[in-house]
């Protein structure tokens, strides 16, 4: 989705992304750095269970939340540093922070997606007591 302009010069450092080592430009914000290596998904939404991607890149939308050195942070507000450990939890069952025995829908909230991919809305009524 993005490429570096030709005049761009960077100093790369090694970080761990989801357990694998990658090289990212030092000092650049993590969200931008990941977009630069074509990693456009930042997390799986705990509410919609769909993939999220940075939207505003200025700290407003919180779509770029990911675990950085053990704490969930906005990647667009965090500069890359050597040895950083980044975890996006994209492959956990149902994705990041998906859990709970019951997912219940508020009537009227049925999300009919506009060709937004296979519906992951698996609403099951759990026992209430």
């Amino acid at each position: 989705m993005f490429k570096y302009a030709p005049e761009n010069t960077q100093q790369l450092v090694t970080v761990t992304l989801d357990g694998e080592p990658v090289s990212l430009p030092a000092g650049m914000n993590v969200a931008a750095a990941l977009l630069g290596i074509d990693q456009i998904i930042s997390r799986i939404s705990p509410a919609s269970h769909k993939p999220c991607s940075p939207h505003c890149l200025m700290g407003v939308c919180y779509e770029c939340l990911m675990e950085i050195n053990g704490v969930n942070r906005q990647a667009c507000m965090t500069p890359v540093s050597e040895g950083m450990v980044i975890r996006r939890n994209l492959t956990a069952p149902g994705g990041n922070l998906h859990f709970g025995e019951k997912e219940t829908a508020t009537p009227g909230e049925q999300i009919t997606s506009q060709e937004e991919g296979p519906s992951m809305d698996d609403k099951t009524q759990g026992a209430s007591a």
Binding site: F2, K3, N8, Q10, M28, I41, S48, P51, C56, Q114
Partner: protein, 474 residues
């Protein structure tokens, strides 16, 4: 670090940098808290380390920032980067987090210069990966040197949309289409502002030039576009829209949306500042006097956060707030403040000549906000427009009632992305005005902070008594 400073400036964009520099030059103890890692805010992002190519492409409105940044660095104002403010109190106490540590600092005056944000406008599919704000792409270019690699569609309204287009053209990005919701013929309300705008022929010339560049690049430019929707399976693949009788269907790899700019108001609301609804531009801003003072004596608003008027105006407003603070602290008398303020006010007036015309041409109208029930309104909690309307049908008459019933506004962004649309949808559904349906209550922390960091926070009380002759200065 001192626990008590004269002035805390929150934000290091044009307003914050100018305010802090002015106060620093007067010898005041100023601390600038910037949540970004380098000064510049949005418009001057990465200005100190911008590659020369960028300076050339982005032009004077960007390079002006160099002087602003240099003045700031030269002044004695202290700069804290990566400092996220998470609570502000009217008595001057500020809590912020930096490098994993939270601190509470007290200031005699606080100048809030946190700027503006792009108006978040829910359209079907706006949560798809591959849909980004135009400002986001601009930031990527300035800070990271990244540009879109494939086809881009620009959609929305406002002068910045067209400016963005010209910048992309200069960088060699292929724009598949510009979808402008603004009608080709400006509304009648715009024409009375024409004469005043003519006082700034340079500005108008710039506008004409932009349109010429877009035409020369053969970019399809549609106006009066409606019903924009982003489509795709796992990510954005194409955009659909209506233009007149034609249905447009344009594939691209990136959809850049921009629906104008609105003040970022979270700090003001968390503190309890009185807010005003600006009906012609449909946004909330803090109620301020001519110097930027809010209803709280110690809290000032400067820059786009006080009201959207652009980067240059932000510099002047920042400096005006600083002058008034300096007077309040007894550094300069009122007549000197006024003398120093005079040229700033003149420049501000000159800078503002085209604004009424621009505002009128691009004025958002309630009728333009057409939302489908299935569109996601609150991205964080995945709440649809339909769910919000249902809450109103069950008796909710203000935004916080809707919030507790639907969870809209309860996610990580604390209503930054859904607040404006909530105001439109709820007021329309309840047959009330946005002033009546109100604003979401904003609570601390303004940014998430780990519990461990809060538990470890030092909350020293300022020592009131003691024998100052014998006590050693810490």
């Amino acid at each position: 670090m001192s626990l008590h400073v004269d002035v805390i400036v929150i934000g290091a964009g044009p307003a914050g940098l100018s305010a802090a520099a002015c106060l620093g030059e007067m010898g005041l103890n100023v601390l600038t808290l910037d949540e970004q890692s380098r000064p510049g805010g949005q418009i001057y992002r990465n200005i100190e380390e911008a590659p020369r190519e960028n300076l050339h492409v982005l032009g004077e409105s960007y390079t002006k920032g160099l002087a602003v940044a240099r003045r700031f660095r030269k002044s004695s104002a202290a700069y804290a980067s990566g400092a996220s403010v998470w609570q502000v109190e009217p008595d001057g106490r500020v809590c912020y987090s930096q490098d994993g540590k939270s601190r509470q600092i007290r200031a005699n005056y606080i100048i809030v210069a946190t700027g503006a944000m792009e108006r978040p406008m829910p359209i079907p599919g706006w949560q798809l990966p591959g849909v980004m704000g135009a400002g986001a792409v601009n930031n990527l270019s300035k800070e990271a040197g990244l540009i879109p690699s494939g086809d881009v569609v620009l959609a929305g309204s406002g002068p910045l949309l067209l400016l963005e287009a010209t910048l992309l053209i200069k960088k060699g990005v292929h724009i598949a289409a510009i979808l402008e919701t603004t009608p080709r013929i400006p509304p009648a309300t715009a024409f009375p502002h024409g004469p005043r705008a003519l006082l700034r022929p340079d500005f108008l010339w710039e506008g004409v030039n932009m349109l010429r560049e877009i035409k020369a690049a053969k970019v399809p430019h549609y106006q009066g576009v409606r019903h924009i929707r982003a489509l795709g399976r796992e990510r954005f693949e194409r955009v659909e829209a209506l233009c007149g009788k034609e249905t447009l269907n344009i594939p691209a790899s990136l959809l850049m949306v921009h629906f104008g700019v609105i003040p970022s108001t979270h700090i003001f609301r968390q503190t309890g500042c009185h807010m005003t609804w600006k009906a012609d531009q449909r946004y909330w801003h803090p109620a301020c006097d001519a110097w930027g003072r809010t209803n709280f004596e110690r809290i000032f608003a400067a820059g786009d956060g006080a009201g959207v008027s652009g980067g240059l105006a932000a510099r002047y407003k920042g400096e005006l707030a600083a002058l008034e603070v300096a007077r309040c602290l007894g550094i300069i008398p009122a007549y000197q403040r006024d003398a120093l303020a005079l040229p700033l006010k003149k420049e501000l007036k000159k800078d503002g000549h085209p604004r009424p015309l621009v505002d009128a041409i691009y004025a958002p109208r309630a009728e333009h906000f057409v939302f489908e029930d299935s569109t996601v309104l609150c991205r964080c909690e995945n709440v649809t427009v339909g769910a919000v309307r249902k809450a109103v049908s069950e008796g909710a008459r203000e935004l916080n009632e809707v919030k507790i019933m639907t969870r809209s506004g309860m996610g990580p962004c604390q209503g930054r992305m859904c607040g404006p649309a909530l105001a439109e949808v709820v007021s329309a559904a309840a047959f009330l005005s946005p002033e009546q349906t109100g604003l979401l209550n904003i609570r601390p922390p303004l940014r998430p902070v780990p519990l461990g960091e809060i538990a470890a926070m030092e909350l020293d009380e300022i020592r009131e008594s003691g024998n100052w002759l014998l006590d050693a200065k810490k």
